[in-house]
């Protein structure tokens, strides 16, 4: 099963979710009204519908209103995306340029997987005071996703194990589970709010009563009865809420485990991580009071419920999960005691630590954690978009890190630059500046008038280094930059984005790369929600034609080759077109609109469109130029698809071709 099919299943889960949600609201209403009925009967000894109609209306209206307000509020407060969940739990965001060995290990793992799969690098958070082993991913799309791990997971797991856990979380991002989980969080909040309000009434009144209690007032105040009733009735909501959480989450965990093995090609990693969790009492328990609300996000059971264990568990039992990965599992867990920190480090980490000490002594720049292979190699591996989850592709998408020495080559210095708050601005400006000196001239003038001299000089020196890089690395650098740009405050972000926009427009031509750069940066601020609108191909046929035409021109220029490529991809998708639109008809504004519409197609359709798009940039003999791959990555990223989801397995990437910048001209 590939990403698109899994996303599709996540979508159909949503229908079940909606059903359960309404069913639980109905049960709450029924119970509340039944209680009201009994009370009235008890008070008046007789019952006439018309006399008490307003009571039932009040009860029902109040409860419904509360659930609606609760849900609406929660969904509103989640509109910032994953970061709001992380902050709700009080997580600390990890600085991308951190040199602390454990943090570096975590950041490097996240970067590796994100770069290899072509999604923006998510922001990484740590739950500082949680010593158990757990982790989760939150967000609506890969653009606002965050990865949160407990301190325990960061410290107690070795590199391979942590990689397994992070890969599991990434699969939630790709499979659409994360998005489903976000909505679930909002809805369950509404259901649970009723009992929270009830408890609040009980507790608060208890407190205030003791201080102002008068001797005459011996009976239980009415409002306390209301509080008690609300708590009891609300517990139905809690029950259903947890049940929904459990039902939706449980089976998808197994899938995510399998995907994690598929990404890392290392069953041992995630297996040992699970064994370590199993080897400790409460090995994955998270104590934060907000943790219950998000228990369905976590890598492993986060709450310590014992009651109704099988029904309420958000995750399958640990031993079943291990058995699914390793059928020969003998039930032996790995006991974890929290050892002195040095012992937790793997050889790789130790080397990095020594290097760090050495570099600090030498007084030079500290270059830590370059332990990842650049994406071009991992990208050229065949991907198995149509094979079942457990059938491994021949090579992992995440290559295991080799402890390479701290290289000072251009790419690693740019990578370092992408991680710091000031350097990243120069880097992004540098990425926008055209490779052609003549064209870049206007842009440079523009830049000079917009930023201070330090940043300007830095941009110019960055651009010089960038000229040595291939376009594919441009894309990776953009992905890395995004994680640092997330740290900007709103005013900082707004002014930065404004300069980016002016720079892009300064040369009067916009490439697909700069277009997707702008889109991806803009999407960082949580307004990016792809809603599924189109279930069939028909309504989006014109959009496909626009995007495909733009792609063939960008890949081949206005040549005969472009015509053939268009016809090929058109056939592939079964479109009624033979020739591409004229370059004027597929200008950037049109492409933007078309891509937005294509983004809201159902996952399975998206897959077909992307598969066909591959043919737009491939030349005969099934070769794809680096330039073409860059374009595809840009389009895939705009559509919120991981690049590994593309069916590139039958193609050879032609790295020999001089990747000359071919432009999609826009007047």
């Amino acid at each position: 099963m590939n990403f698109f099919e899994q996303q599709d299943r996540a979508r159909s889960k949503t229908h079940l979710l909606v059903f359960l949600f309404f069913f639980s609201i109905l049960s709450i209403l029924f119970l509340a009204n039944a209680t009201a009925f009994l009370i009235i009967k008890h008070l008046y000894h007789e019952f006439i519908w018309t006399d008490h109609l307003n009571v039932f209306l009040t009860v029902s209206g109040g409860i419904l209103g509360l659930i609606v307000i609760g849900t609406a509020y929660k969904l509103y407060s989640l509109s910032d995306g994953g970061i709001s969940v992380a902050l709700m739990l009080g997580a600390r965001s990890v600085d991308p340029s951190s040199h602390e060995p454990d943090e570096r290990k975590l950041l490097d793992i996240v970067e590796e997987i994100a770069l290899a799969s072509g999604v923006p690098v998510p922001e990484v958070f740590v739950l500082d005071h949680e010593h158990a082993i757990n982790a989760f991913a939150a967000g609506f799309t890969s653009h606002d996703a965050v990865i949160v791990v407990t301190q325990g997971a960061m410290n107690l797991l070795g590199r391979d194990e942590l990689q397994g856990v992070i890969a599991h979380e990434f699969s939630h991002i790709f499979n659409g589970d994360m998005r489903l989980n976000m909505y679930l969080l909002g809805w369950i909040y509404g259901l649970v709010l009723l009992s929270s309000v009830g408890r609040m009434m009980l507790v608060n009144l208890n407190g205030s009563n003791s201080s102002i209690r008068s001797p005459r007032q011996t009976g239980i105040p009415q409002i306390m009865v209301v509080g008690l009733l609300l708590t009891i009735i609300g517990s139905i909501g809690v029950f259903f809420g947890r049940l929904i959480q459990a039902a939706v989450s449980r089976e998808r965990e197994m899938l995510a485990d399998a995907s994690a093995v598929q990404y890392t090609r290392n069953p041992g990693g995630i297996e040992n991580a699970l064994k370590k969790i199993g080897g400790t009492i409460d090995g994955s328990r998270v104590d934060d009071p907000f943790a219950d609300q998000v228990s369905h996000f976590f890598f492993c059971e986060a709450s310590g419920y014992n009651f109704l264990k099988n029904w309420m568990s958000t995750h399958p039992p640990i031993n079943e999960r291990i058995k699914a990965i390793d059928p020969h599992f003998d039930g032996k867990y790995i006991p974890v005691i929290i050892p002195p920190k040095e012992l937790l480090l793997t050889d790789y980490d130790k080397k990095m630590l020594e290097k760090k000490k050495f570099m600090a002594l030498a007084g030079g720049n500290v270059i830590a954690g370059s332990g990842f292979s650049p994406p071009p190699t991992s990208f050229s591996t065949p991907t198995s978009s149509n094979s079942p989850v457990k059938a491994p592709p021949s090579t992992p998408i995440v290559s295991n890190p080799s402890p390479i020495s701290a290289t000072t080559d251009a790419f690693s210095s740019l990578k370092l630059q992408a991680r710091d708050l000031v350097g990243v601005q120069a880097l992004v400006f540098g990425l926008i500046l055209d490779r052609d000196e003549q064209i870049a001239k206007d842009q440079i003038e523009k830049l000079r008038s917009k930023v201070n001299s330090t940043l300007f000089d830095k941009t110019i020196s960055t651009q010089k280094i960038l000229l040595q890089e291939t376009p594919l690395q441009y894309f990776s650098l953009l992905q890395l930059s995004l994680q640092t740009l997330r740290k900007f405050s709103d005013p900082q972000f707004v002014s930065f984005l404004a300069i980016v926009k002016e720079l892009i427009q300064a040369d009067h031509r916009i490439t697909i790369f700069t277009y997707s750069l702008y889109k991806m940066i803009k999407n960082l601020r949580g307004t990016f929600h792809l809603k599924v609108q189109f279930l069939a191909l028909n309504p989006v046929i014109p959009d496909c034609a626009i995007v495909f035409s733009a792609l063939v021109y960008a890949g081949h220029g206005v040549t005969d080759e472009a015509l053939r490529a268009f016809e090929l991809s058109s056939q592939h998708l079964g479109l009624p077109f033979h020739t591409p639109l004229s370059p004027k008809e597929c200008g950037l504004a049109k492409v933007d609109q078309a891509l937005t519409r294509l983004g809201s197609t159902v996952p399975l359709l998206k897959q077909k469109i992307l598969d066909a798009a591959v043919h737009c940039v491939a030349t005969e003999g099934q070769k794809i130029s680096l330039q073409g791959v860059e374009l595809l990555r840009a389009v895939a990223a705009t559509l919120d698809c991981p690049i590994i989801a593309l069916g590139l397995r039958n193609f050879v990437i032609d790295e020999s071709e001089n990747s000359q910048s071919k432009k999609l001209s826009v007047s």
Binding site: G62, G65, L66, I69, R92, L193, N365, L421, V422, D490
Partner: protein, 197 residues
Amino acid sequence: MGIALSFLVILAFVGIAVVVSAYNRLVLLRNRYKNAFSQIDVQLKRRYDLIPNLVESTKAYLNHERQTLEEVIASRNQAVAANQRAAQNPGEPTSMKSLIGAESVLAGSLSKLMAVVESYPDLKANQTIANLTEELTSTENKVAFSRQAYNDAVTSYNTGIEVFPNSMIANSFNFHEAQLFEIEKPEERQVPKVAFG
């Protein structure tokens, strides 16, 4: 039970929901600026680590500038202590103000040291020292940038606790105004006063 009562009950429900929501909103805003402080913290620590290195490597050349070096180390140590206190409860006015004070003293003594380094050609030519000063300057820039981000977050939090109905909740649940992190530039402070007339 009349219409009035049912109206009251609904009103009470809505009121409580508003309280809960506003409370959560304030927690979110508070977490946001605390998180922004941790970004400054990272950069400040990086700078505190660099300073002893710089002092170590310039020591050999600067025998008769001992006082400047000692000043730098002393003010650096004070800043480290102040930062530790501030990091425990970011935004708390007293500890933030002492951090601001310590930081501007440090900035002053550092700029003095930089001026000295500039005036020794031997020092300027030394690659290690050049690297260190460059690193220090770039860290300085990052501190400034993350400080701005922190101040933005604090401002939106401070506005958040002032507007109605949040202000009522802020009062009863101990949300206090947080302190901005603004540093006067040493050169601006040292502008001599010129008396006219």
